[in-house]
Subunit: 206 residues, 2 copies
C-alpha cells in the first residue's frame, strides 16, 4: 500500500502575496510536491491563464460542483466563488505525492475541519502598515476599500492562531525558504513516518 | 518581556550515535542554541572533560540534587546516575535562548511530562527501516537472531511513538542537517511566534 501524501495549505490575508510566494516556490527546480490549481468564477486578470493560475469557470458550473460535493473547500468573495476541486487533491494524495494548496483563509478553515493532519502555513505581512502600502501601491483600490481591507487583515491575523506555522513574507526568497524548511521538517514527523516503520515490521514478520 | 526559548530534546536507543550527532551539530559554526551538559556519577572515560562532556559528581551530590528537586530529568543505569540540572536549562530558556538536550529515552519521557511544548526528536538506527531487506538478503541468520532483532525493532518503534520527529542516523551529516531543519521549522510554529504578533495586532487596532 502506498503511503498517502501530505496536504500543505498556504493561506494568509488578502494582498499578503500568497500567489507570488507560491509561484516562486514552484519555480524551484527540486520542488517535489504538486500544486492544486484553484477554481474561480472571477474574470482572469491581465496575464492570467486558464489551467495555470486558476480554472476559470462560470458561476453555474461552480454551483453545480458545490451541489455535487466536488469541492474540498470554497468561499464567495465579492460575488465570485473561489475553491479547490476535490478529485485532483484526493487522487494525488492517494498516489503518495504531497499536494500544495494556496487558498483564502475561509477555505483553509474548511480544509482544517476535513483534513486535520494537513500542514497549515499562514503567510503574514511584516506589519500592517506594509500591507497598507502594498494595497496603495497596487493603485487599484479606493481609501475606503483599503481601510476595510486593513480591518479585515487584523481579523485574519487573529485567525493565525488556527494555523501550525507563521511565515513572514518580508522577502519572497526568504518566505519560500521557510516554507521549504517546514515541508522538509513535517516529512520527518513521527505521525507521518510511523506507517512506513509499521509496514516494514509487518513485512518483516512474514 | 523576552519570549521564552525553546527546549529541544534528542534521544534514541542506546548505541544509535546520539553523542556523535550532538557533537557534530555543535561543531556547526552557526549553531544558535545552547547545549545543556548532563550530570553523571560515572567516572570520566579517556579524553572526557568535566564541564565539557559531563559534569562529573559524586553519588552523594547527585542524590542531594534529586532530593532538592534540582534535576529536570534523571535515570540510573548500571549503578550510575545520569541527568540534567534544572537551573541552567530554566535560566537559559528564560533569557530567550533555545536549549538542546541529548539524553536517554527514560529521561526524555520525564521531560515530556514536565515540558509538553518541548520538541522531541528520536534518532533511529539506519537498519531499523532496512531490517526486512537485511534479513532477506542475508538469508544466513538463525531464527533466534532474527527474532531477537525484530523484537528489538518493535521496542524501538514503540518508543518512537512518544516523539515528535524521527531522524534516521544513516550518515552523521545528514542527521545533523535534518535536526537543523526541524529546529528552524519549529521556530516558525504559530504557538511560538504568537507573542511577537500580539504587539502588531494591538498597533493595528489603534
Amino acid at each position: 500500500m502506498t503511503k498517502r501524501g501530505m496536504l500543505i495549505v498556504l493561506s494568509g490575508p488578502s494582498g499578503v502575496g500568497k500567489g507570488t510566494v507560491r509561484k516562486a516556490l514552484f519555480d524551484e527546480p527540486d520542488t517535489d510536491f504538486q500544486y492544486s490549481i484553484s477554481m474561480t468564477t472571477r474574470k482572469p486578470r491581465e496575464g492570467e491563464k486558464n489551467g495555470v493560475d486558476y480554472f476559470f469557470v462560470s458561476k453555474h458550473q461552480f454551483e453545480e460542483n458545490i451541489k455535487n460535493g466536488e469541492m474540498l473547500e470554497y468561499a464567495k468573495y465579492v460575488d465570485n466563488y473561489y475553491g479547490t476541486p476535490l478529485k485532483y487533491v484526493n487522487e494525488t494524495l492517494d498516489s503518495g505525492k504531497d499536494v500544495f494548496l494556496e487558498i483564502e483563509v475561509n477555505g483553509a478553515m474548511q480544509v482544517r475541519a476535513n483534513c486535520p493532519d494537513a500542514v497549515f502555513v499562514f503567510l503574514t505581512p511584516p506589519d500592517l502598515m506594509e500591507l497598507k502600502h502594498r494595497l496603495i501601491n497596487r493603485g487599484t483600490e479606493e481609501m475606503s476599500v483599503i481601510n476595510a481591507r486593513i480591518k479585515k487583515a487584523v481579523g485574519e491575523i487573529k485567525m493565525m492562531r488556527n494555523y501550525d506555522y507563521a511565515v513572514v513574507n518580508d522577502e519572497v526568497d526568504s518566505a519560500v525558504a521557510r516554507i521549504r524548511t517546514i515541508i522538509r521538517s513535517e516529512r520527518l514527523r513521527v505521525s507521518r513516518v510511523m506507517p512506513d516503520y509499521e509496514q516494514m515490521l509487518l513485512e518483516g514478520d512474514e
